[in-house]
């Protein structure tokens, strides 16, 4: 909502400056988003009359225009536009004048001297129209400063009006706020008819759906002449963002701006029998609206019709074939009150938000319909001639009642935590148009018809509070409870910190996904990630699903970095995925990670290292340990998106944690991480639930340990973890630590075999281990390895 300050001052005798008024309004809830001063940067531009349009000697597309700025003085300017004629008034920017975007100097254009320029609306900053120069209203005076002629010596306040305040979508509503804030009186524009009524109304109104249309006021005006609007009206409409069309149509828009009440004018000749029928649409009914679009109506659409056809979608937009046009002589004015829900539904159904629908769907003023009609009639008669024919029709089968709400002034003070005397509360409410009756402990406030938002006592408290000013509220603190994070929330924070400390960067990616992501991962059709939650109205093809895996987002982030020459990527994300259930989806958290490129860059004392499965596994193992997850088991996994022989399922105590491995090279290629990537995707639950618990310290050993190395040769197919497990079991209880330190394949072992070397630490709690005891353990281990894994001692 854009409000002319000059116009505002006609409605309320405010003394304060525009900035001060803007501040008062902002701090009472009617927020001024911006203040524009359109005339500020225009200097020396004047109204001139075109007296001659001649050819430019050297250019077909230019003309030499002679304009007169007073009886004695003319200017000759070069002009490229042709949308004007001799006799028109135009805006001349003579040499030395300034416009918002330029200073005008004498120029030679294709050999002809131009003593200034004729301005377009865009050049003056009054519209976005570049197509031609701005033709001024004929009532502007030659030589007059364009700033005053166009009413640009004004300040425009641009408001953000919240959904609950439709009354502030009109000048009168804003003026009422200003009056309440400055202790002045609102002066309502005169709507009294110039001539008394001459009989019954020629318009017949039948409301077939009184719940959709509680009230319909119609007024017949005959014998008018359409034409351009006067300058003052065109200026005000333009300042508010409306394009001036003709005096009748402009008046309906002007009344909408002034009163906040939308009205519509039909060409009376196009309304069969001058009969208005308000009804729901019929099956298959169509209407071509003013925007030229043919719309098929829904049975729930409320229509304004005549006996033969639909004329308008009620409260949203009129039809093209009953539009007021140049030849219109008689009009039927509509000023109605429509049900907000009905208008809102039609507006959404037809994706059609108009100035009218925005007001009706928020709730218009049900008492304002006759006033708006009378005010419009007065203006139309004034601007377009003609005269009202007969009475106004006011179809109002079941009058709507103003809501009366009781409020205990004490409650205002209790809820705000601030003292405001009851009398003061009453005066605030009265200044906003409430009718207040005072009782013993409570007061009763009757809400004005233009305040649909006032429903219960807290709404009154808000009115009091915002007029009293939030500045006066004390600053206190509530008592609170024992706040803090629960154990899972703490664990999740610890996990994120540990991952970062381990060198990983945390990523946040969006929740959107699509079939394409799952195809790029080459997931089989029965893969659980293929079962997705679908968005009914996605904004793009790539956002049709909610994600079921974090990998595509992370891989895209990795690819983005590699493309920007980042050499190594180690990233994780902890976020939700979404699994359909038929009801509310499950939203479990996952931890996913991607490692690619350099793990360590080349340094001056060492070579660079790329991320390998084992480097990534090491990070994960360290993190799992930190989270208190015990022994993990790693078993090979196959199937997309994994490298067929380089990926593992991870379990701990029989619980599946997730999967880690190299990505299949085809998948890497599709995600543009051609050098390959190691990725992991784990369920977060087991990690944050593990909870290491309180540490119980073991005594430090008092006797020395025995250390020995053991190299065994096994078949390739035997996993290292199997060998280690056998060693641990067979070596217990003396064996306290096993560490693998070498892996060898080559000439010294048979083909298809490998040699694994382990360092063993043995100890007994109550003494020093003897050589004999140590050798017994060693023999047990060797025998077990032989029996269970076919291992031979490496000689």
């Amino acid at each position: 909502m854009r409000v002319s300050f000059n116009w505002l001052r006609e409605l309320v005798p405010v003394e304060e400056t525009p900035s001060k008024v803007a501040e008062l309004l902002t701090l009472s809830g009617t927020k001024v988003e911006a203040i524009h001063r359109p005339g500020e940067s225009i200097n020396g531009v004047i109204v001139a009359e075109v007296i001659d349009i001649g050819e430019h000697p050297n250019a077909d597309n230019l003309s030499l225009v002679e304009v007169r700025i007073n009886d004695a003085d003319t200017r000759r300017v070069v002009c490229g536009a042709r949308n004007f004629a001799v006799g028109d008034h135009v805006a001349l920017a003579p040499v030395g004048s300034t416009l918002p975007e330029m200073a005008v100097s004498e120029r030679r254009i294709r050999g002809a001297i131009s003593q200034g320029m004729l301005c377009s609306g865009a050049e003056l900053g009054v519209s976005k129209d570049h197509s031609g120069i701005l033709v001024l209203p004929p009532d502007s005076a030659e030589g007059e400063d364009v700033v005053t002629a166009l009413g640009l010596d004004d300040t425009i306040l641009e408001f953000e009006i919240t959904f609950n305040r439709p009354d502030c979508l009109g000048m009168i509503g804003i003026a009422r706020e200003v009056a309440a804030l400055t202790g002045t009186e609102l002066e309502m524009p005169d709507a009294a008819p110039a001539t008394p009524s001459d009989g019954a109304s020629p318009v017949d109104v039948a409301i077939l759906d009184p719940s959709g249309c509680p009230r319909y006021v119609a007024r017949y005006i005959e014998g008018l002449r359409t034409g351009p609007s006067p300058g003052w009206m065109a200026t005000r409409l333009a300042a508010a963002g409306f394009r001036p069309i003709s005096n009748v149509v402009d008046t309906t828009n002007y009344i909408l701006l002034e009163t906040g009440h939308p009205i519509h004018a039909f060409d009376a000749d196009k309304v069969t029998d001058h009969q208005i029928v308000v009804r729901r649409a019929e099956g298959g009914e169509c209407i071509t609206t003013l925007d030229g679009i043919e719309r098929t109506l829904d049975a729930a659409d409320l229509m304004i019709a005549d006996p033969s056809r639909a004329l308008a979608i009620a409260g949203v937009m009129g039809g093209a074939d009953s539009e007021v046009t140049e030849g219109t002589a008689d009009v039927i004015l509509e000023s109605a009150y429509f049900d907000p829900a009905s208008v809102g539904a039609s507006s959404r159904r037809h994706l059609l938000r108009t100035e009218a629908s925005a007001r009706f769907e928020r709730g218009a003023d049900f008492d304002a319909a006759p006033y708006a009609a009378a005010r419009a009639t007065k203006l139309i008669v004034q601007l377009a001639g003609g005269r009202p024919s007969g009475d106004m029709t006011d179809a109002y089968p079941v009058p709507l009642e103003r809501r009366s709400i009781s409020l205990a002034p004490r409650k205002t003070e209790a809820l705000l935590g601030m003292r405001i005397a009851a009398a003061r509360q009453v005066s605030y409410l009265e200044s906003l148009g409430f009718r207040v009756t005072i009782g013993d402990e409570t007061l009763a406030a009757e809400a004005p018809s233009f305040r649909p938002d006032i429903q219960r006592d807290v709404d009154l408290i808000e009115e009091v509070a915002r007029l009293a000013g939030f500045d006066g509220l004390p600053s206190t603190l509530p008592r609170g409870v024992a706040g803090g994070l629960d154990s899972r929330q703490l664990a999740e924070r610890r996990l994120r910190r540990t991952l970062a400390a381990a060198g990983m960067h945390e990523a946040w990616t969006t929740s959107w996904a699509s079939e394409r992501d799952l195809d790029a991962l080459a997931l089989p059709t029965d893969h659980p990630a293929r079962s997705v939650v679908e968005v009914a109205n996605p904004m793009s093809e790539d956002e049709r699903h909610l994600r079921t895996t974090l990998l595509p987002g992370l891989l895209r982030s990795a690819a983005h970095n590699l493309a920007h020459r980042v050499e190594g990527v180690a990233m994780f994300e902890i976020a939700r995925i979404y699994r359909p259930t038929g009801g509310l989806p499950q939203e479990p958290l996952l931890l996913s990670a991607v490692f690619c490129g350099l793990h360590r860059p080349q340094r001056w004392h060492g070579p660079g290292e790329h991320w390998s499965f084992w480097a990534a596994k090491g990070v994960l193992e360290a993190v799992l340990t930190a989270m208190g997850v015990g022994e993990t088991e790693w078993s090979k996994v196959t199937g997309m998106p994994w490298h067929p022989t380089r990926a593992a399922n991870i379990t701990a105590a029989g619980v599946t944690l997730g999967t880690m491995g190299e990505l299949h090279p085809d998948v890497c290629e599709r995600f543009k991480v051609e050098q390959g990537a190691v990725v992991a995707e784990l369920a977060l639950g087991p990690l944050v639930d593990a909870q290491p618990g309180r540490v119980k310290v073991r005594d430090l050993p008092r006797f020395p340990a025995a250390y020995m190395d053991l190299s065994v040769v096994v078949e390739e197919a035997v996993p290292a973890q199997t060998v280690e497990t056998i060693i641990r079991h067979a070596g217990a209880p003396e064996l306290v630590e096993v560490r693998m330190f070498d892996l060898y394949r080559g000439e010294q072992v048979p083909g298809d075999h490998k040699s694994l070397a382990y360092g063993l630490e043995l100890r007994v709690p109550d003494g020093t281990l003897t050589d004999t005891q140590a050798n017994q353990v060693r023999d047990r281990v060797i025998r077990a390895l032989h029996d269970q894994a076919g291992a031979e001692l490496r000689s």
Partner: protein, 354 residues
């Protein structure tokens, strides 16, 4: 014994001294010094043989000659020791030279990762509320339309409900939406417990906004709710003032400005004095001098009634803020889409483990 002998012995000592000093002097390293030491102080040294001459010296001279012998010995020992210290010092000096390093060469740092700036911002905000006695909850992103709108007092015909503004989900019978705010968690939390309620809820929300530098179709919100006996709007103002100053600067002005939300009454927006221009108006605050940072208000009794709380006994305040916006303001990020691009050149700037 005669004086001749006396003189002779004296000369012997004198000779041992001179020779000894010269031998020590010519030793050119520690090894040679060892040999020299044996030669001038050992059993076969001139000093040693001179001492044996003492036995023939007369009784009355023996004492002064003995003193002379000791003086010579002490002098020679001191000369050896001094020489040795000299050699040791230069050997150490040579070692230090050999072991010299360039301390300006780069260190071999373990690579530290980083927490995402939005994680850091959410934690920072949540922690302030924890300090005020709040707990933390999370809730579903796919939400019943009933919770996202109806329970929050959204008018039935409010445009926010339209499929132009809100994502709807194809699932089962009930109407599901992607929550447009974390506010439905106000209802879920209150349904799950009796007052007092002090909770903050961080989480992802979704709106059908065309993405630009300040809008995302998926974004983060932090909801807050306090419901207790005697909660006032002053409590709301005090709590949020404190939080805003902790985040943006303790010396900044904070103001509460009336606004409208369906689920609070009275409602307000909280503005913080622009930290860049201190209120005089600049590009960051769009010349207003103030920056809007959150929406808030007193919990609408409609919500309390919905969950069955006694509205005569309990009142509350609620608020919602956007970590993307707050992080963007705090760190000078011009385009909030940066937060979801995960460009390491961006993330690294938030490095270190905070």
């Amino acid at each position: 014994m005669s004086d001749e002998i006396d003189t002779e012995v004296t000369q012997l000592f004198e000779g041992a001294r001179k020779e000894g000093l010269s031998v020590i002097e010519t030793a050119h390293d520690l090894h040679a010094l060892g040999e020299a030491k044996v030669r001038v102080l050992g059993r076969k040294s001139a000093l040693s043989s001179a001492r044996s001459g003492l036995r023939g010296a007369p009784e009355e001279k023996r004492r002064s000659l003995g003193q002379l012998a000791n003086a010579v010995q002490t002098e020679l020992e001191a000369a050896v020791a001094a020489k040795q210290r000299g050699f040791e010092a230069s050997e150490r000096a040579a070692r230090w030279d050999r072991e010299a390093i360039d301390v300006t060469l780069p260190g071999d740092a373990p690579s530290l990762g980083s927490l995402h700036p939005l994680t850091q911002t959410v934690w920072e905000i949540v922690d302030i509320f924890i300090g005020l006695g709040f707990k933390v909850a999370e809730g579903p992103e796919v939400e019943l339309a009933k919770y996202n709108f109806d329970a929050l007092n959204t008018p039935a015909h409010h445009p926010a409900r339209s499929p132009q503004d809100t994502f709807y989900i194809k699932e089962g019978e009930e109407e599901f939406v992607l929550r447009t705010q974390t506010s439905p968690m106000q209802i879920r939390v209150m349904e799950s417990q009796e007052p007092p309620v002090y909770v903050v809820v961080p989480g992802r929300c979704y709106r059908r906004d065309v993405q630009d530098a300040t809008h995302l179709s998926g974004f983060t919100q932090i909801e807050g709710l306090a419901v207790d006996e005697g909660i006032t709007m002053g409590d709301l103002k005090g709590s949020l003032q404190l939080v805003a100053r902790e985040i943006f600067g303790r010396d900044l002005d904070v103001r509460l400005r009336p606004h409208h939300f369906d689920f609070t009454e009275p409602s307000a927006e909280l503005d913080v004095q622009c930290f860049a221009c201190r209120g005089s108006g600049c590009r960051i605050c769009k010349q207003e001098g103030w920056i809007e940072v959150l929406g808030c208000g007193m919990v609408h009794p409609y919500l309390l009634e919905w969950v069955g709380y006694d509205t005569h006994r309990y009142s509350g305040f609620a608020f919602g803020m956007g970590p993307e916006r707050i992080a963007a303001l705090a760190h000078g990020v011009a385009d909030i889409r940066m937060f979801y691009e995960n460009d390491l050149r961006f993330l690294n700037q938030f490095g270190g483990i905070r």
